[in-house]
């Protein structure tokens, strides 16, 4: 009897527990901001450029809290497809737009609600820097910026009121090198496959970005001139992968990397002396006191750009809070924070207000530093007298050759990339 009672009691408790779990599951379906008093935004993104300082400043200025959902670039895209209601705002890259927009999972962003819209850099809106056209091979932001309407699944070729993402941050990427181990000037992407660096080169193992670096190399070697590196035909993909497969088989590469930290370690340890690299990774190697240069190359840069998007279901108060967050983001403080990391803010005039004159001269004007240059975390990045790799904003962004891209033959490209890794 006693036994039975306990069993019944247990059943009761477990049913209650089940109910609680089911309830929690239901609650999750609602946007987090309605559930809490202080507005909380679930921020989906790679968050490589979002430190604690940003969160603190945001809360002090607006009372908004951010809950990060940190994923890799590819996983962010996957999450937008498979769990479109699991976040309130997404920080995504423009090159994902050709995949994302047709799904209808993202809302067209209303530029009328963005205070600084007219100040967004022309690199995004027109594909120009300082009045000059820059390279637009690949998924250049201007190609996938405008939508035909708020709920449209089609891109507009002319500027409209609605955009796919509100631009936030972008940069021009190139090869990173160890000048102390190479001991001679490097000026071309072709050096990545130079037999001189056999067993000491690396490329990133993220197919959509790696293929662009590979294309820059193939073109620099004079093997082939692509009509559009960012949208290769099957034959062009075959050719590119063939050259890299041969290089891989002959032992050109020490390793491939797929994680930011891996690239830092390969470079800092001297296992690799030349590789595709991202700006903050260079900074990370340098703050260890190891020389590392983000080498400008004569063929130009591979650029990328990111921005904020909202899920298609966003409306009412939730939308207000997200737009408030985006307006705060573009109001200057974060822009200065991004510029100090070596990225560029999408709204330059507001960022300038929050930077010291000597910082502005170093980061944006390409002038020699008149004082030590510090990272946002207070670590020394450059000494007095040093000049930023690649120089000024106009010199760097003006020399963009192509943008990260989603190709029409993306499926084929990923398969071929897998084959190269297996070869």
């Amino acid at each position: 009897m006693n036994k039975n009672l306990t069993r019944r009691k247990m059943l009761k408790t477990s049913t209650a527990a089940l109910g609680a779990v089911a309830g929690a599951g239901l609650l999750k379906g609602f946007p987090a901001i309605h559930a809490a008093d202080a507005p909380v935004i679930r921020y989906l993104g790679t968050a490589v450029n979002m430190g604690d300082a940003v969160q603190k400043k945001l809360f002090d200025d607006t009372g908004i809290k951010v809950k990060f959902i940190v994923k890799t670039t590819d996983e962010v895209v996957k999450t937008i497809f498979t769990q479109p209601n699991s976040f309130d705002i997404v920080d995504s890259e423009y090159f994902s737009m050709p995949k994302l927009v047709p799904s209808g999972n993202l809302l067209g962003m209303d530029t009328k609600r963005i205070k600084e819209w007219d100040n967004v850099t022309s690199a995004f809106t027109k594909g120009e820097v300082a009045g000059k056209k820059i390279g637009d091979q690949g998924t250049a932001p201007k190609k996938v910026m405008y939508l035909k309407g708020a709920k449209s699944k089609e891109f507009a070729s002319e500027p409209t009121q609605y955009v796919t993402l509100i631009p936030t941050v972008y940069n021009a990427d190139t090869l990173g090198i160890r000048p102390d181990l190479i001991k001679r000037p490097i000026s071309s992407w072709a050096e990545l496959l130079n037999p001189e660096f056999k067993g000491k080169a690396s490329i990133l193992n993220i197919p959509s970005i790696g293929i662009m670096d590979a294309a820059m190399v193939v073109e620099a070697m004079g093997e082939y001139k692509y009509p559009d590196k960012g949208n290769m035909t099957k034959e062009e993909i075959d050719l590119t992968m063939k050259i890299f497969t041969e290089a891989k088989k002959s032992g050109q590469f020490r390793a491939f990397w797929s994680d930011f930290n891996e690239s830092v370690n390969l470079m800092a340890s001297g296992e690799v002396v030349i590789q595709s690299m991202w700006s903050p990774a260079i900074t990370a190697v340098r703050t260890k006191g190891i020389p590392c240069v983000y080498q400008p190359l004569k063929e130009g840069y591979r650029a990328w750009a990111a921005g904020f998007g909202l899920p298609a279901t966003t409306k009412g108060r939730q939308a207000d809070i997200c737009y408030e967050f985006i307006n705060w983001y573009l109001s200057g403080w974060v822009g200065a924070y991004l510029n100090r990391q070596g990225y560029y803010s999408a709204v330059i005039p507001t960022a300038k207000k929050y930077m010291e004159a000597y910082e502005w001269d170093y980061w944006m004007m390409g002038k020699p530093a008149t004082a030590d240059i510090m990272s946002p975390e207070g670590k020394k990045l450059a000494s007095k007298g040093e000049v930023r790799d690649g120089g000024s904003y106009e010199a760097r962004m003006g020399a963009v050759a192509c943008w990260n891209a989603t190709m029409d033959e993306n499926k084929y490209m990923v398969r071929k990339w897998n084959e190269m890794i297996a070869s």
């Binding site: 996983e75 996957k78 891989k248 797929s258 990923v414 084959e419």
Partner: protein
């Protein structure tokens, strides 16, 4: 199960919670994977269909023997090789570590302490492990420094890191514990009087090991082998990190396909991997009936 229920209702009821867990978290996901492997897909969605394209692509060019070995066969071949070498070393090392713990360490306290020592490789994260091998095996690492300074080598040995060698090293380092535990468990069940009887009849140490301990440890060896083989077959993190992302693994192919939302292709690869792994385990359980031995 119905027959079971009729005979003993209480036993049938007791098995319900586990059956439910099994159905919801194992059988249904697996069935879905199998179904989706026949679907079509595009950039952003999967399309219900019944096509064999996902499978036929995996084996494309595989049966054209004039060409080089196809990617799929190459990848499986390299995975099988890692499986075998890792299995071999973990078995040898695991067996003797278990032997030492079971027969030479008599106090339970020390057995526990030494067991905990064996779990040390699991205390670190993948990232830490990845970073910590470079100073040891790298071009400017400890081993190369030693080889160069003693004149044993004139140039840094590059095969130490980002190679098949470093992958096997990491696997053995990680998974020997999976062998130690079941083999140790089998050894502790061996009736000591059998060994004493063998001694009394004049058997030497090697004969006792080979004719008594090894046969009685078979269930432990098979269980350990199943652990090691299934883990190595599906691994892509260790192979990726230690192989410098240059050595293929089925897991990595599935991972890349998933991150590009090519879910049906990934599902087809997963089904084949699962079938092969099950086949290996089936062969192993044919060699020895674990249920009977336990």
């Amino acid at each position: 199960m119905m027959k079971f229920l009729k005979l003993k209702p209480s036993v049938g009821l007791l098995s319900i919670p586990y059956s439910l867990i099994f159905i919801f978290f194992f059988f249904i996901p697996l069935a879905l994977t199998f179904i989706i492997s026949f679907w079509d897909y595009n950039e952003y969605s999967i399309i219900p269909d019944f096509i064999f394209e996902n499978y036929s692509y995996i084996f494309k060019d595989c049966f054209n023997f004039e060409k080089d070995l196809c990617v799929t066969f190459k990848t499986y071949l390299s995975t099988f090789l890692f499986c075998f070498v890792t299995w071999f070393f973990t078995l040898i090392i695991g067996f003797f570590v278990a032997y030492f713990l079971a027969f030479y360490v008599s106090s339970i306290t020390w057995q526990i302490v030494l067991f905990l020592l064996c779990t040390i490789p699991f205390w670190t994260s993948n990232v830490i492990r990845m970073i910590s091998w470079i100073p040891l095996l790298g071009r400017n690492g400890l081993i190369n420094d030693f080889l160069l300074s003693t004149g044993l080598a004139d140039a840094p040995q590059e095969w130490l890191l980002y190679s098949g060698f470093s992958i096997v090293l990491a696997f053995v380092h990680l998974y020997t514990l999976f062998m130690i535990v079941p083999i140790f468990n089998s050894m502790m069940r061996i009736d000591k009087s059998i060994i004493e009887a063998a001694y009394d009849n004049g058997a030497n140490g090697v004969q006792i090991l080979w004719n008594i301990i090894v046969p009685l440890c078979k269930p432990g060896i098979v269980i350990g082998s199943i652990f090691v083989i299934t883990v190595v077959m599906g691994d892509f993190i260790t192979i990726g990190i230690m192989g410098g992302q240059q050595i293929p693994s089925i897991g990595k192919i599935i991972y890349v396909e998933m991150s590009y939302l090519q879910l049906p292709a990934a599902a087809a690869n997963a089904v084949i991997l699962l079938a092969l792994t099950l086949l290996i385990i089936w062969i192993m359980t044919k060699m020895i009936d674990i249920r009977k031995e336990l």
